[in-house]
Symmetry: C2
Subunit: 760 residues, 2 copies
């Protein structure tokens, strides 16, 4: 292992001081002279035709500058996945609303009170339409039709490898289970916020809490009819995204449209209630799994049918449903595999990307069933997993080509550290240990996959780094600065990074799919290497040496082996820049993984080697269950995560802890409760997000196989760790109580009910 | 001449709509939450020791956040020319003030009224020192000493070529004259304005009306002790600079210091009065010229002694005094030349860079004397100039290596168009025609000479262009966009330029010395060419062609000669960006002219080939002089200007017209009148700036020799056209009245006085 100076270090975030002192500026802190406040009027019906909108009373209210409705738009449909066949949504619908809370009109006024008051004065005449909220009901003949598709099926994914029927025939044991997951919401502390400023020259500037400024620019361009190059999207600090800020919402669209109509800057933000009812959620899924195994535990065949609630619009659903299937073939080897996924429209709030992105739902079902199989066969769950674990060099049924993979090591390390063998049998009553594994892509693409970077060297030895990568709180600015510093041989704080401004930073798809480390990381490393090459060429002339013989370390450039033949990094840059006939040292780098889908119809199959690498992990969670109250208390999470080389262990541990927190909510407490389309718990008082008090001890083990495609051997892992937690908890509950819940969340009510059923 | 699509066009400015609609944002339009207002307390003495400053009463005033004095600084001296020997000024002096209006303290308060009130409450105890305001007096023994230098001589420039004494001996005719120029002020409509925001993390962001953000960053770093890389300087729209915004002033320094002391954003601006008394001015010069000529008009020898009023501090004076000398050897060939320039400290407001930068003063003297010589020898002034005009390939006595040069053509075209031969003899009484020539550098360096650029291609065919070049109203963003569009074969409005932000744009020295067209223009062209190369390599694969056989025109890429074998520019970029294993197309470019001073002590000699090219021009100005009132009215300015290839004739004509306007003020009406250091006319009511009503008809002839170093053959000319105007007017006055004024401005009083003297 080479000796590194900056990477591998537990460095604090580049923005930690600004955030700790309150000087960090979020979109909500932005202001422009003459700025107006925007608000959105939302549908009170889950499904209705808009017959007529009369904005006249609202428009007459003093302080109101404009009211816009679907009629003021180009009526263009879009979708987060840029495949025109999938476009099914208008940011402001012209004729039909399909979920309660869908935007119907928007208003810009001189302040928030005036804007709110104006909303009340807009008269909308609706014709309510029959609605359907359950995907199984929605597929039935005679169900209300939400879009012009048969059986309300928005998208079907089908993939088959081998012959599952033959696989079941060859199996000694076959079992079938159905698992269901609930609707949960991202709950980023910063709600969706946008400020837009349209100039008379036709230029639109949008500040937005976005995970993907270049995609947001695409969607704004398409739906507003403003040329891509005339739109500038700037991402100030972002207070969390978790997938909920990849897509364009009404906030970004309406702020821009209102600014275009008024020629004034317009700022608007979701209230927390709007965030719950309209900002999108995780797709609830119902997964039926039939698995066949040999007596010794070797998996032979797996057949999965998945029905997912798409909600009213597509968003990222078509990719997510594919990924749920891929997750069930990628972790434990299985020769015969068949998957059918149905993404079904309902009149619920649409689902979208959410940390885990379908993998979480699939893994929950699959790893719960693994424990049931282990139990039935009398095999230790850890042994069953190790026996079937995917290995480096494997190509999975979904065509993932596995490069680095430390799944077995993760399973072993997590179980060893948790004392699986010694402790599991002797735990006190109500205590249980559960294990689960998980995998995740490290960089699947949604639109394009290219990340770019520029690096400029300055005469004080500082380096300006430009990257389009989106730091939304996960710390990518820090990680990318470390990579650039390491490559250039300078100190961490020599790197001055700017990310997130389409007018100045090179292209980047955004923060999703755990892609930033590999894609933006490689682009940044290449830009730094390009600058370094230029620098060393010039320094070699000065030192009368070969550039290949020079190295840079700790801000000094010298001939390898002769440290006295050298000069300081800053001095070198200064002398080159200030020479007569001098040079500016400007590096460029870009990276896209050389993946191929191997399949033209890869969306329909949900299959293909679309990620440059994959991360793996295993978790053992210990719970205590109170039989009186049904309360499940996670005590300790032992997380072994394969992240490739750990660029910043401190930051990675933060990712692990936040994944565990989010997944505990998914497993135990969170659910967006809806009745006839009405969200019943749209507040942090009613929607039970885990707090610091509910957190178990998290014991993180970073497992670091070198990923050949990754920068310095690193790969992404910010999402993958969320995947194993809920099945691990479910398995721990089973270990504690002997009961198996097949639905999330495992609330006290459901635990008590299961205990009752067990007693009967 | 190749056929161009975008360059050579009369295109409107990229920011014209924003400026016309008022949406363009200047530094004064910026605001940040919690922002304070800063104001500066200035010295009421032209020379005094600061004995004690008591800020306590001011500090107790409610709303005042902090008062700073020299004691709160590091006490570091600086100078606009980064040669430590020249450092003589503190942004906030610790012990001595040397001109009236020098900053003494600064205050930050919650609003302007409070800040103004606080200034009145700061008690400063001074010990007045004897002062001197005339450079000749200042050089005398026993004069008050302003800095620790002999005879108050800040800097001496001496340069000699050939043997002037021998030259005078060989001459048939020798004459000697002394010409003096006055103090004028830049009068940019936007006064110096700065907003600074210092973060707890040690990062300082400064928005400033600056012509040179990278130099301002240097000076702030040096004087505040903040690391260069931790300072970000952003240039919003700038309302004119004319040289007055190259250097750091108290406004930028104090805003930053006050923000550092308060951890709050601080904004401050010069009042118009402060702009007049403290923002620096053009160096008054007194030039004694002795010239020897042959009977036929061939110049033989020229000896010049120049005494310049440096004011209290160096700023750019040491370079300007050298340039005044170089101007007098660069236009008309002279084999023997000797120059002595004395830059002398006085207790006046310091001089600094000002459009024309010493050339104006030198040319005024030299071209006035040329007319006197012509008169004495009975040679037509046009013929005398043509006879001696410098030609391409010449190396001037100051070592300028002349590449493109259309001086003779300019003299001919201007005189022809003005009807010199036909009209001059028969003009009515009071009318006169005068000619003068001029030359200027196109890119001399002050710190470093390197300009960099980045170009990124987007899938709609738009191009993000990043340049550090400073558009301060002169239109460089437009010109650079044209160059990038031409090189890439796209349309003008496909280019989206960002300039002026040290955190995102590559390095650039700034807007001065007419350097932007050649230096930043070449960098931008190279960045565009780099992107084009990457694009064509990929497109060649698609078209199964050789990249060298491809061309791009009007947004289409095709095989040369087979226009049907091609595809759209945007489609090509999109397909490359969106491919699996795609590419981002990111171009880099940088340029520094391969000039060399040829002389280690070039500052002391004011000589050297320091500019990649030189521009030339000639003007004929027709005036009417009212003998009763002494009023000189310029009627028509016929301007022939050698600008190399004219990238944007519309913009160049604007430069010509603004130069003529500014030089008319210099010639006729403007003077900062000072008595014992007190500025008597610090307002637009008293200081006579020419208005639109005073403007003559300007008839511009762009002469376009191809400059080999310039992008597409272009070179800079934004300053050079200011040079010939004042001697041309003086020569026209002589033609009209037969009187010769040897001092600027030629006010009615002076005209009447000269007429009286003539009558005697």
């Amino acid at each position: 292992m080479p000796e590194y100076s900056v990477i591998g270090q537990r460095l604090p975030r580049v923005d930690s001081m600004a955030k700790a002192t309150g000087q960090a500026r979020f979109t909500g802190d932005m202001a422009l002279p003459g700025m107006l406040c925007g608000r959105i009027l939302r549908s009170p019906y889950p499904h209705a035709r808009i017959l007529h909108i009369d904005p006249s009373r609202a428009q007459r209210l003093p302080g109101v500058r404009v009211v816009v409705t679907g009629k003021d738009t180009l009526g263009i449909k879009y979708c987060s996945i840029p495949v025109p066949d999938l476009y099914d949504e208008m940011a402001l619908p012209t004729d039909t609303v399909r979920f309660m809370g869908e935007p119907v009109a928007a208003v810009a006024a001189i302040d928030e009170d005036r804007a709110e008051e104006a909303l009340d004065l807009i008269r909308v005449e609706y014709e309510p339409l029959p609605a359907v909220f359950d995907p199984v009901e929605a597929m039935k003949a005679g169900a209300p039709q939400i879009h012009s598709v048969d059986q309300n099926i928005a998208f079907t994914v089908r993939h088959s490898v081998g012959d599952v029927e033959e696989g079941f025939r060859q199996s000694d044991y076959v079992r079938e289970d159905t698992f269901t997951t609930q609707c949960v919401v991202h709950c980023a502390l910063e709600t969706h916020t946008s400020m837009a400023s349209f100039e008379g020259s036709g230029k639109l500037t949008v500040w937005a809490s976005s995970q993907s400024i270049f995609s947001l620019r695409d969607d704004l361009s398409l739906t507003l009819g403003v040329r891509l190059g005339d739109i500038r999207v700037i991402r100030p600090c972002v207070g969390g995204g978790f997938g909920g800020k990849i897509h364009m919402t009404g906030v970004e669209f309406c702020a821009a449209l209102l600014s275009m109509k008024t020629s004034r800057p317009v700022k608007m933000a979701h209230s927390r209630e709007e965030e719950f009812m309209a900002a999108r959620c995780r797709h609830p899924m119902s997964l039926r799994i039939k698995t066949g195994v040999k007596r010794d535990g070797a998996l032979m065949a797996k057949q999965v049918t998945n029905i997912a609630d798409n909600g009213a619009y597509n968003s990222h659903g078509v990719v997510i449903i594919g990924r749920a299937g891929a997750q069930m073939s990628c972790l434990y080897r299985v020769p015969h595999f068949k998957y059918e996924g149905y993404l079904v429209y309902t009149n619920n709030e649409p689902g979208t990307a959410f940390r885990g992105f379908g993998h979480l739902q699939g893994r929950y079902a699959d790893d719960c069933q693994m424990d049931l199989i282990a139990q039935d066969l009398g095999i230790d769950p850890v042994e069953l997993r190790l026996q079937n674990a995917v290995q480096p060099g494997d190509v999975t049924p979904h065509l993932w080509k596995i490069t680095s993979c430390a799944l077995s090591e993760c399973i072993e390390k997590a179980s060893d550290r948790a004392g699986w063998k010694q402790r599991r049998k002797g735990l006190p009553p109500g205590r249980g240990l559960g294990m689960a594994g998980g995998s995740y892509v490290a960089g699947q693409r949604l639109r394009h996959g290219v990340s770019g970077a520029f690096a400029s060297l300055h005469e004080d030895g500082s380096v300006t780094l430009l990257t389009g990568a989106s730091d939304v709180g996960q710390g990518s600015d820090t990680l990318l600065s470390q990579i650039a510093a390491e490559e250039l041989g300078v100190a961490f704080d020599d790197i001055k990074i700017t990310s997130g401004d389409t007018a100045v930073t090179p292209v980047d798809p955004g923060a999703f799919a755990s892609r930033t480390t590999i894609a933006a990381g490689n682009a940044v490393r290449l830009a730094a290497a390009d600058a370094k090459r230029q620098l060393l060429e010039k320094v070699a002339e000065k030192l009368d040496a070969n550039p290949a013989d020079l190295e840079i370390k700790d801000r000094r450039i010298y001939v390898r082996g002769s440290p006295e033949r050298g000069l300081g990094f800053a001095d070198a840059v200064r002398s080159i820049l200030y020479a007569f006939g001098g040079n500016a040292i400007l590096g460029r780098g870009e990276f896209d993984a050389k993946t191929e889908p191997q399949d033209k119809d890869y969306l329909r199959h949900g299959a293909g080697h679309l990620s440059p690498a994959y991360s793996f992990g295993a978790q053992v969670i210990e719970v205590n269950v109170d039989r009186e109250t049904g309360q499940v208390e996670p005590l300790r999470a032992t997380v072994a995560q394969d992240c490739g080389f750990a660029i910043n262990p401190l930051s990675l541990e933060g990712q692990v802890e936040s994944c565990v927190a989010q997944a505990i909510g998914q497993a135990l407490t969170e659910e967006l409760v809806r009745k006839d389309g009405v969200v019943l718990d749209p507040s942090f008082l009613d929607y039970k997000l885990p707090t610091a008090l509910e957190m178990p001890v998290v014991d993180t083990i970073l497992v670091e196989p070198i990923e050949p495609v990754g920068p310095f051997g690193a790969k992404g892992m910010g999402e993958g760790t969320v995947v194993p937690t809920s099945p691990a908890i479910a398995n721990a509950v089973q270990d504690a109580l002997g009961i198996r819940l097949k639905s999330l969340p495992m609330t006290p009510e459901r635990i008590l009910k299961a205990l009752e059923d067990q007693a009967e």
